[in-house]
C-alpha cells in the first residue's frame, strides 16, 4: 500500500469522528488540511455528511391510532384479577366474559327466583286464600317495579351477551385464530417459490 493510501485510510477511519466533532484539535486540523487536497477523501466526507444529514431528517412515521386502541383494549382486559379471567386463562389471558355481564346474569337469576317463588306462593292450591293475602302484601307499584327490574336485567343480559359474542368473534377468533393462521399460511408462501 502506498504512503498516500495509508494516509487516506487513516483519515477515512476518522470521518465519523470528525462529523461528530470528537477529534482533538491537532487531528481535526490535520483532517481538514488533508481533505482540502484529497479529492477521494473530500468525496467520502461529502457522502458521510449527506448520509448523516439525511438520517437526521428522516420523518417520524405516524402510527395509526387504532393500533393504540387495540392495545388498550387488550390491556384493559388484563386489568381485573377476577376469577372468570383466571378460569379462562387458557384462552391466552383474554377475558371472554367481563364482570358486568356476569353480574347482570346473577341479578337476573336472583330476580327470576324471586318471581318464581312469589308466583308459586300466590297460585298454590294448598294456600287457600293465602294467594289473596300475598297479592295484598305486594302493591301494584311494587309488582311494577319488580317487573321493571326484571326487564332491566334482561336488557343488560342481552346487551352484554351481544358484547361477549363480539369479543369472542373479534378478539378471540379473528385476532387469536384467523390472523395467526393467515400469517402462518402467507409467510412461507413468499420465499419458497423463489428459492425453489
Amino acid at each position: 500500500m502506498s504512503k498516500i493510501d495509508d494516509k487516506c485510510s487513516w483519515f477515512q477511519d476518522r470521518i465519523d469522528l470528525y462529523i461528530d466533532q470528537e477529534l482533538d484539535r491537532a487531528d481535526n486540523d490535520a483532517f481538514e488540511r488533508h481533505v482540502e487536497t484529497c479529492a477521494a477523501c473530500k468525496e467520502e466526507l461529502s457522502l458521510a455528511a449527506d448520509v448523516v444529514s439525511e438520517l437526521r431528517s428522516l420523518p417520524t412515521q405516524r402510527c395509526p391510532e387504532r393500533v393504540v386502541d387495540e392495545a388498550m383494549q387488550r390491556a384493559s382486559g388484563e386489568t381485573p384479577q377476577h376469577p372468570i379471567r383466571r378460569v379462562l386463562g387458557w384462552l391466552g389471558g383474554r377475558p371472554v366474559l367481563t364482570m358486568r355481564p356476569a353480574m347482570a346474569a346473577m341479578i337476573l337469576v336472583v330476580l327470576a327466583a324471586s318471581v318464581f317463588v312469589l308466583t308459586r306462593h300466590e297460585q298454590s292450591p294448598f294456600n287457600g286464600n293465602a294467594g289473596q293475602q300475598s297479592v295484598a302484601e305486594h302493591s301494584d307499584k311494587e309488582l311494577e317495579l319488580a317487573k321493571l327490574d326484571a326487564m332491566l336485567a334482561f336488557a343488560y343480559l342481552g346487551r352484554y351477551s351481544r358484547r361477549t359474542v363480539e369479543i369472542v368473534r373479534e378478539d378471540v377468533i379473528t385476532n387469536r385464530v384467523v390472523r395467526p393462521l393467515g400469517k402462518t399460511i402467507v409467510e412461507p408462501m413468499n420465499p419458497f417459490p423463489l428459492d425453489e
Binding site: L55, Q61, V67, V68, N190
Partner: protein
C-alpha cells in the same frame, strides 16, 4: 383504563412505530410490534423506573425487532435482493449527475431507507436510535445494554455500512 396510561401510550406509539418501520421496512410488522410493546408497557407499568422509561420501551421494541427479523430471515434475504435492484433502477432513472439537488436528496432518502434495512444488527438499531430518533448515548447504552464506547464504535460502523451500501448509487 386510566387516561394517563393512554397519554403514555400515545407518547410512545410514533417513536416505537418509527423505530420498527425503519428497522424492518414493514408497516404491518411495525403495527403488530407497537401494539405488543404498549401491552407490555401496561403489564409492567408499576415495575419500570420512570427515569428509564424510554430505554425500557426501546429495549422491548428492539428485542421484538430482532425476533421478527429472525422469523423472517429467509424472506428478508429475498427482499434485500429486491431492494438492491430497486435502488439501482431508481438511480438510473434519476438521470445525469447534474440532477437538481432536491431530486438527489429525495433519491438519497429513498436509497438510504432501503439501505438501512440491509445493515446488520445491532448497528442498524443504533443508527436509527441515535440519528433518526435523537436518543442520547446514555439511553442507547441502557436500551441495548452495551457499553458507551461500544455504542459509539457501532454507530460509526453502521454509518460506514450505509456509505458502502450507497456508494456509487447516489
Amino acid at each position: 383504563m386510566s387516561t394517563p396510561f393512554r397519554e403514555l401510550a400515545d407518547e410512545y406509539r410514533d417513536r416505537v412505530y418509527t423505530f420498527v418501520y425503519y428497522s424492518l421496512r414493514n408497516r404491518e410488522e411495525a403495527e403488530d410490534i407497537t401494539q405488543e410493546v404498549i401491552v407490555k408497557l401496561w403489564r409492567h407499568r408499576d415495575e419500570i423506573d420512570p427515569q428509564k422509561l424510554t430505554p425500557w420501551v426501546m429495549r422491548v421494541a428492539h428485542n421484538a425487532v430482532i425476533d421478527a427479523a429472525r422469523r423472517q430471515r429467509t424472506r428478508s434475504a429475498v427482499i434485500a435482493e429486491g431492494v438492491e435492484l430497486d435502488v439501482a433502477e431508481r438511480v438510473v432513472a434519476a438521470g445525469s449527475p447534474d440532477t437538481d439537488r432536491s431530486v438527489r436528496s429525495r433519491e438519497l432518502r429513498d436509497a438510504l431507507e432501503n439501505a438501512l434495512a440491509t445493515v446488520d444488527e445491532p448497528y442498524r438499531s443504533i443508527v436509527v436510535m441515535r440519528e433518526v430518533q435523537d436518543m442520547t448515548y446514555a439511553e442507547i447504552t441502557e436500551a441495548l445494554e452495551i457499553p458507551l464506547n461500544t455504542v459509539k464504535v457501532y454507530l460509526h460502523r453502521g454509518r460506514r455500512m450505509l456509505r458502502v451500501a450507497l456508494r456509487g448509487k447516489v
